[in-house]
Amino acid sequence: MSRGNEFRIGIDVGGTNTDAVVIDSAGSVVRAVKVATTPEPIEGIRQSLDQLLPDVDKSLVAKAMLGTTHPTNAIIQRQGLDTVGVLRLAAPSSLGVRPGAAWPADIRDMVIGASAIIEGGNEYTGAEIAPLDTDAVRRFAAEATAAGCTAIAVSAAFSPATSDHELRAGDILGTELGSAFPVSLSHQVGSLGLLERENATILNAALLSVASSVVDGFGEALAAHDLAVDAYLTQNDGTLLTAAEAGRFPVLTLGSGPTNSMRGACALAGVNDAVVIDVGGTSADAGILVDGFPRESTAAVEVGGVRTNFRMPDLISIGLGGGTIVRDVRAGNGSDLVIGPDSVGYAVATEALCVGGSTLTLSDVSLASGRLDGFGDRALVAHLEAGLVGDSLAWVDDQVTIMSDRMKSSRDEITLLAVGGGAHLIAEQVPGTSQVLRPLHYSVANAYGAGIAEASGTVDRVYSYDRTSREECLDDAKELAANAAVRSGAHPDRIRITAITEVPMTYVPGGGCRVLVKAVGPLA
């Protein structure tokens, strides 16, 4: 640990804004700025630093953390992606499903330049399915480069448990194509589930050029301010990758935005366990933090139409925001409301009734009811009937209750954090929650979340509780996870285990069990 005060810079590049904060050792916000995200996002990062740093003692800045949507956008917009050779080590198993089988055709045609399924990979017991076909690896190196591939993704059956074949294939490709030729190995990218892990590894390889431009640009922006600091990128589980790691594993940064926002909100409010609802102009996103980290989704996550098994925060989104349009389609007696799902979005500042516009939005209803304050003119919404206002807010309250219920993992009451520009819509009391908090600085919660990210390590493997006791197996998994966290830069004495998940394997007598453990700790 360093002595004395030490600053961290946290930056989050979102779709609309690039936010940046300086945080001191005590976790207080020293300075925060918000600039518009630029078409070339590195420019926005430069501008945010230009505005952030003039009044800050730069000699105290030790670390800089970046959370960015660059890689996500590259996939969604199909831009700047590399052509990848896809090598699967699993034959004779798995021949029934070709690599890229379930991908949308546009991204498959753009990204997958060549593919092969060759002999190799392991069984659940660790035995080989077949010895690695080293000649086939060499042949594939030639085929892939001839097809214009600029990176190769290698995935082997059961590699999260037994990575030997992937490592050997990686060595052979390095010998054939030179050690600088980018090769992504699936056991370093994803967890159990061959097809989803292979997809994640292909996307990782496809993002390498985008990643190096982000990492280089971030480094240059820091250097331009004479900041010789450790640079990190945040990943989707709320922990850090060094800039060098992010350059190799860009896929792990996908989805870090919501995670940073949720973790930042919790830290700003000083709570570790809470449901977080981020209400924007168009939609509300709900997530849950358990022990300071977002609960991860167990369902497969699609990115740009590609199914993956990333460690993504478990989020639900609904069309509920400050700009959500309210329509009164009354027939006969009483009102019959249709609320959303469409929204005027960011045009709420000019389109809403309360600012002289012509569209009835949830912000107008909120203002008329007194929930919203300091936006628009209440006189312009004074004509709204109490019944309409009441019914609209009753709908909002129902939706908020449903979202927080769906996020909760038990019936115990939990704190609800309301953040985002539309947070006023959330009532002071929400059933099933113990309290509703609206933390200070919540508008830069995402940059703050990036700034407080920690180092982590995970393990995901299949144990047999038959041969070794469950306790010994769990201890082994915890130790492996802790070691991985230390390798990622965590302080060895301050590691804590934040998640242990056991998935029993049905039909397997003898206690086969998949164990996932995550260890995290502050940077050493």
Partner: protein, 355 residues
């Protein structure tokens, strides 16, 4: 239904998830395998058992192993073909058609891939028309038809054929073999003549599965009147709309058991409890059993109407619970001893679905 093409797979897959009744294995990988096989080998002809020569050999195929392992060891396709060939070779007779044994979950779609690969028709029938956890839980067992001789095979070319004395021994032997064979294997059992299939199998299962899949897809798409049509035409009843309040998961004897507690959302002060062993088996309302095995208990997401598997169920999920009638072929002597509540260790009586 005369042929199955790659375009039919989505509806069949949705129907198979529903008939999986909470278990049955995720049909996603099976869907990809079937899709690739149909694209490569062309459409599969769908036949009624009665249209085959009476003495023609019909062989079944299914996956046997652990769902977690199958996520890593994706089917090659060849293990299903070689399992069928191994049994045919033992019997000394070529199969005339392939038949699914379990139309419900992932075993609905894998036989289609096998039929495509072997250039054989698929019989529009099965022996469960829902998912059950054990090989002997079939209408064939009720008819006294043996599960053996049966074969298990892996993707490397290893095959075993067993002669078995009871269908329960068949289950035990096959399970033991696949632990040594990598837990992602094929099984071919209940070798039958077309005449036996015509007499004893559940007829029209693939058509039924596709049809309930289409009806449910219309509900998911928000089509006018689709929900009522889905309930009417499948003979199903809505029993409960509730929120998951508690979820107790445990694994004993190699089966994933759980108890799900739902709290009513329709304004009634009622609680539903569902007992699960891989599949949903019994649903109670305020302590009274309302749906019991072998009828189907299906949970659908309140908003998307996607069938929810037990693995994916979580606290706070809002679900609609429907009871679907099991295939009428189940209603014969011995049904309750084989697949009734007591067969799974619940000391309660079978409950008919209300008309």
């Amino acid at each position: 239904m005369d042929t199955l093409t790659a375009d039919d797979i989505e509806a069949l897959c949705l129907g198979a998830t529903l008939l999986g009744t909470g278990g049955g294995g995720d049909p996603y990988i099976a869907k990809l395998v079937a899709h690739q096989a149909l694209e490569t080998h062309g459409p599969v002809q769908v036949v009624a058992a009665a249209d085959l020569p009476p003495d023609a050999l019909v062989l079944t195929t299914a996956v046997i192993g652990a769902p977690t392992v199958i996520l890593e060891k994706i089917p090659a396709g060849t293990e299903y073909v070689s399992g069928v060939r191994a049994l045919a070779s033992y019997l000394g007779k070529e199969p005339a058609a392939i038949m699914p044994i379990e139309v419900g979950g992932c075993n609905t779609l894998l036989p289609i891939a096998t039929a495509a690969e072997m250039g054989l028709p698929i019989v529009n029938a099965d022996s469960m028309r829902r998912a059950f956890p054990q090989i002997e839980m079939t209408v064939f067992t009720l008819a006294g038809l043996p599960a053996g001789p049966l074969s298990v095979a892996d993707e490397k070319g290893n095959q075993a054929v067993f002669e078995t004395t009871t269908n329960h021994v068949a289950e035990t032997l096959a399970r033991t073999a696949v632990i040594q064979l990598g837990l992602a294997n094929s099984i071919s059992c209940y070798p039958l003549t077309a005449a036996q299939v015509a007499q004893h199998a559940i007829q029209g299962s693939l058509t039924y599965c596709t049809e309930v899949g289409r009806l449910l897809q219309a509900v998911k798409d928000g089509a006018e009147g689709a929900w009522e049509r889905f309930l009417d035409e499948s003979g199903s009843k809505k029993f409960f709309t509730g929120k998951v309040m508690d979820l107790d998961r445990r694994t004993t004897d190699g089966f994933a058991r759980s108890t799900v507690i739902l709290e009513d959302l329709d304004g009634l002060d009622a609680t539903m409890r569902i007992e699960v062993q891989n599949e949903n088996l019994i649903a109670f309302v305020d302590g009274e059993p309302v749906i019991t095995t072998p009828n189907l208990i299906c949970l659908l997401d309140c908003e998307t109407f996607e069938p929810i598997t037990t693995e994916a169920l979580a606290y706070g999920n809002r679900v609609v619970v429907i009871g679907m009638p099991c295939a009428p072929e189940w209603h014969q002597d011995g049904m309750l001893d084989l697949v009734g509540p007591r067969a799974f260790g619940y000391d309660i009586d079978f409950v008919e679905l209300p008309a």
